[in-house]
């Protein structure tokens, strides 16, 4: 019964592969960024699972709370989420600029355009 116990890690692996595959296989620049996001989300889940304690509650210091989740990975991943948002924003801004310059966001069409000039 290993798999049910570690099911969140399996989700991490599946999400990671979906995201990675999207980045590699799609030619559309926006879809690539969405793939990158899925890839990053899988790492967020990895960190959050890591901090969980069986039967633990939210890490708030109050009388009667003895088992609580490890807050450190959660705090770390907040930073990584912020970084992820910044990356997405910058990536999308670049896509807008690319669309202005080339009139398309398909990778193969951009390549064809570059080779023509």
């Amino acid at each position: 019964m290993e798999i049910p116990g570690l099911f969140n890690y399996w989700i991490v692996v599946v999400l990671m592969m979906i995201g990675f595959y999207t980045v590699i296989s799609r030619g559309n620049l926006v879809k690539k960024i969405i793939g990158l996001n899925i890839f990053q989300v899988s790492v967020f889940v990895l960190y959050i699972s890591m901090g969980a304690v069986a039967g633990g509650t939210a890490p708030i210091l109050a009388p009667g709370i003895e088992h609580y989740a490890n807050p450190l990975p959660h705090v770390l991943i907040l930073t990584a989420i912020v970084v992820g948002v910044a990356t997405t924003a910058l990536g999308l801004a670049l896509v807008v600029r690319i669309h202005e310059a080339y009139g398309t966001i398909e990778e193969d069409e951009i390549q064809a355009e570059d080779e023509r000039t």
Binding site: F20, M50, T79, V83, V95
Partner: protein, 504 residues
Amino acid sequence: MIAPHLPILQVVIPLLAAPICVLLHSGRLAWLLTVAVSWVSFAVSVLLLGQVMDGGPLSYELGGWAPPWGIEYRIDALNALVLFIVSGISAIVLPFARASVEREIESERVYLFYTAYLLCLTGLLGITATGDAFNVFVFLEISSLSSYALISLGRDRRALMAAYQYLILGTIGATFILIGIGLAYMVTGTLNMADLAERLPAVSGNRTVQVSLAFLTVGICLKLALFPLHLWLPNAYAYAPSVVSAFLAATATKVSAYLLLRFLFTIFGVEFSFEAMQLGVILSTLAVLAMFVGSLVAIFQEDVKRMLAYSSIAQIGYIVLGISLVSVDGLTAGIVHLFNHAIIKGGMFLALGCIFFRIGSVQLHDMRGLGRRMPYTMAAFVVGGLGLIGVPLTAGFISKWYLVVAALEAGVWPLAVLVLASSLLAVIYVWRVVEVAYFQPVPDDKAAAKDKATLGEAPLSMLLPAWVLIGASIYFGLDTSFSVGVARAAASSLLGLDLAEIGS
């Protein structure tokens, strides 16, 4: 009074200057501030290097929180040298930047350019100074995000695609590093580098730790642009503004090489990285491939900036080859080359920046007869090229000498032969530029004749920084006591040896 706070000042000064740059809202003032900040950073790094070489590693507790709970900044010989390189290159590149940036970037964006530049500098210095594994990731993303923005400011629209591709690959690399750090934390429950190094040997049989090392190595090699993970680099360097190419080529990959050293040697330890996981074989194979593929592809480039970018991939191969030998001599060779290559490549990209400033192109066929029109600039380029080849009396010779000695000492003479053979390839691509610039007539088409301004040298504010770096590459080819001395101290501390014991 201020001396104990130097490690944090190194990072915080450029960080605080970045938002001030936005508020100044003037390209000229932003440039002045950036120059001042950069020179102060350089002074700080010189003081730090002095302190470390005299008194051993420094430790700084951020906000007074004792490690391993708080974030610790830890400066030893290795990262003091890398801090010195990064802030030194920045201090030399910036005087060059004013004229070059004015020419290449729209005037209303200039102050934003310097903001992004300062953030990039902060990130690179932060990665180097910090002693906390997660902090590395944060600074890595600060420097990466700002360098994507800097690259996208290039004039050619292909700069946008170059920045986009770098963003995708760079983010994958950084996320791999994040996974690696997470897995190491999972097993050890700590993020402090010194603490990790203490706890990891006890769990070295653990599969999670092995996977952690694998993710970290791949992630760092992506940022390092080690063959075959180099695909983002040529376009990024070729289409970025001249200043950005010079700064990033000289610093960004060097900081990644530092990270590789730090994770493999200090944190995971030689025994685990190179004996249990056999990384030495993988790294040296890839390094040799990088040396040849990089140099071979460089020979066929028409765009000289791209040529230098491919040559960088080859030079990264030499650095990694030195690292993969895992001996004091090998590491010394790697670290010395890290230092020398930063100077040489920085100087060459600055010389190309001067050329672009005058003739508006860095295509090989536009450089015909340039040796007569811009003699000082071309001379700088050629001397830099000699350094890349490794001709005696240049800094490049010193690093290759140590590399060959280290390879022979390790008993792998084929590696020494390969290093020499790949240097011959460098002769070919440097010669192609020399031939075009010195042995072909100046094109006498009407466009060139009409524009008299294009016929002279670049202004002194641009030529001088290029020559300072090229001059330094000659100086460090003649007097190696500084570069080799610090590199040897860093190498022996990475291997956990006492410098006195090995008797040098």
